[in-house]
């Protein structure tokens, strides 16, 4: 019996890497990758082989900006029904979170996805329903698919969709961190395929691999990067072929293309990243809560919101700091009482580190 969790095989791959005697630093951009690495102790195992793997800006909840959080908080305060994902409601804003507001009696709903939010709108025709649409290319097609089906007039979204390749480019352009290889996110790649990453290898000479989420997927991914480095190659390899195809999910890409266009966007911990936003096209402006409730959002329109005091999520998201090195980690900032989003989301590197270190 041979599975993607086989310990013996894992050890054999690790031994093979160990023999090469390398000192490399890789980055991945996916919370589920981080979960696999920490849960199975692969991070420790690989460190012993000279390979450090850190998480970059790969948690959609974490990279959502303080301003976006304040927008949704304000709309909840203006008595809209606000719907979003479970980990989003706990992200602290300047003074409170959606979760606090819920206990204060505001109508905040947790949903599995955008379709549930549309159902809430259909059942509450007299009320306005705003969905906080967070997520990378994995989630954006679900928003696109729903908007293409003419949801009811009382439904709209605070659009926070972002795209991964421009963020990778931003990290490399900033040059704050040495990256010998990139492990690309399996689920984002399920939608976009492998082509959109190619410029990173050709322009920056960085080897890449799209990897799955089982321990052997990740180890194999690491091996595929090490091999490229050994052979002085820089291309995009695909380890996760059972799910990721070169062309991605064509139906999903088509839906995204119909609904969104490229724009620039600020990410938490980053300046504005060019072309990293999926902006709603003209025909879907009626579903844009920022336009629809422009007057109600006026009071925070030009206001800047800072990161919580002492919070180092920004540096974490740029791969500069491991969670344990944040002075707040496990003391003032815990999953029960989070200061920053990286401790809130189960995809956040602080939350993952805390969960498995306890």
């Amino acid at each position: 019996m041979f599975s993607f969790k086989d310990k013996q095989i894992a050890n054999e791959i690790v031994t093979k890497i160990e023999k090469l005697d390398v000192k490399l630093k890789f980055m991945h951009v996916c919370g589920t990758h981080q979960d696999t690495l920490v849960k199975h102790g692969l991070d420790v195992l690989l460190r012993k082989c000279g390979i450090e793997i850190g998480q970059g800006p790969g948690c959609p909840v974490c990279v959502t900006t303080p301003k976006e959080i304040e927008e949704i908080l304000l709309l909840a305060k203006k008595n809209k029904i606000v719907a979003t994902f479970g980990d989003m409601i706990r992200v602290p804003g300047e003074t409170e979170s959606l979760q606090n507001m819920r206990t204060e009696g505001y109508d905040v709903r947790i949903v599995y996805g955008i379709e549930d939010a549309v159902s809430i709108a259909e059942k509450n025709k007299g009320k306005d329903v705003v969905f906080m649409a967070v997520g990378f290319e994995t989630t954006a097609p679900t928003t696109a698919s729903v908007l293409l089906k003419n949801p009811p007039d009382n439904f709209s979204i605070i659009n926070c969709h972002r795209t991964i390749p421009p963020a990778l480019k931003a990290i490399l352009d900033m040059g704050e961190i040495k990256i010998d290889g990139l492990i690309e996110p399996g689920h984002v790649s399920t939608i976009i395929g492998t082509k959109p990453y190619e410029f990173i290898s050709s322009d920056y000479g960085v080897p890449q691999v799209v990897a799955g989420f089982e321990p052997l997927d990740m180890l194999m991914g690491v091996w595929m990067l090490v091999e490229q480095i050994k052979n002085e190659e820089a291309t995009v390899k695909n380890e996760y072929t059972r799910v990721v195809h070169m062309e991605g999910n064509i139906k999903a890409k088509k839906a995204m293309e119909e609904v969104f266009k490229e724009g620039d966007k600020k990410w938490r911990g980053f300046p504005v990243i060019p072309k990293s936003s999926l902006e709603l096209r003209k025909g879907f402006k009626d579903y844009d809560a920022r336009k629809k409730y422009e007057d109600e959002l006026e009071e925070i329109k030009d206001k800047e919101f800072k990161e919580p005091e002492g919070c180092r999520c920004g540096e974490l998201l740029r791969g500069l700091l491991p969670p344990q090195e944040c002075p707040l980690f496990g003391t003032r900032c815990t999953p029960d009482n989070p200061v920053g989003p990286c401790m809130v989301s189960i995809e956040g590197s602080c939350n993952i580190e805390y969960r498995y270190s306890k």
């Binding site: 041979f2 791959i13 980990d87 679900t142 839906a255």
Partner: protein
């Protein structure tokens, strides 16, 4: 290797959480049991009796297929042939090591 084994991720924390709690960003594999009349949604079995409806308009799937579900939408059909080939690749890599 049975694809079912590959898909049912032994109910580790993250999988379990994703099925029972609406966390975003995760994608969980499950098997399509039946389609609704309009064929826009299907019942997906995640193992151990956990079944939920998922939107299947973004994939070309049939009953019995394993799909990857994210935020209530199936985003891809899992390719059994490729799963086997990946495992073969691992085997091949390791046997090359032995030869060396």
């Amino acid at each position: 290797m049975d694809l079912k084994l590959l898909c049912h991720l032994e109910h580790n924390f993250i999988t379990y959480k994703a099925i029972i709690t609406p966390y975003m960003c995760l994608a969980i594999p499950g098997k399509i049991i039946e389609f609704d009349k309009k064929k826009e949604h299907a019942t997906v079995d995640y193992g151990d009796g956990t079944k939920r409806k998922a939107n299947v308009t973004l994939v070309n799937a049939k009953v019995g297929d394993y799909v990857l579900v994210h935020a209530g939408f199936a985003i891809q059909v899992l390719d059994e042939k490729e799963a086997h080939e990946t495992l073969d690749l691992f085997r091949e890599m390791l046997s090359m090591e032995e030869e060396n």
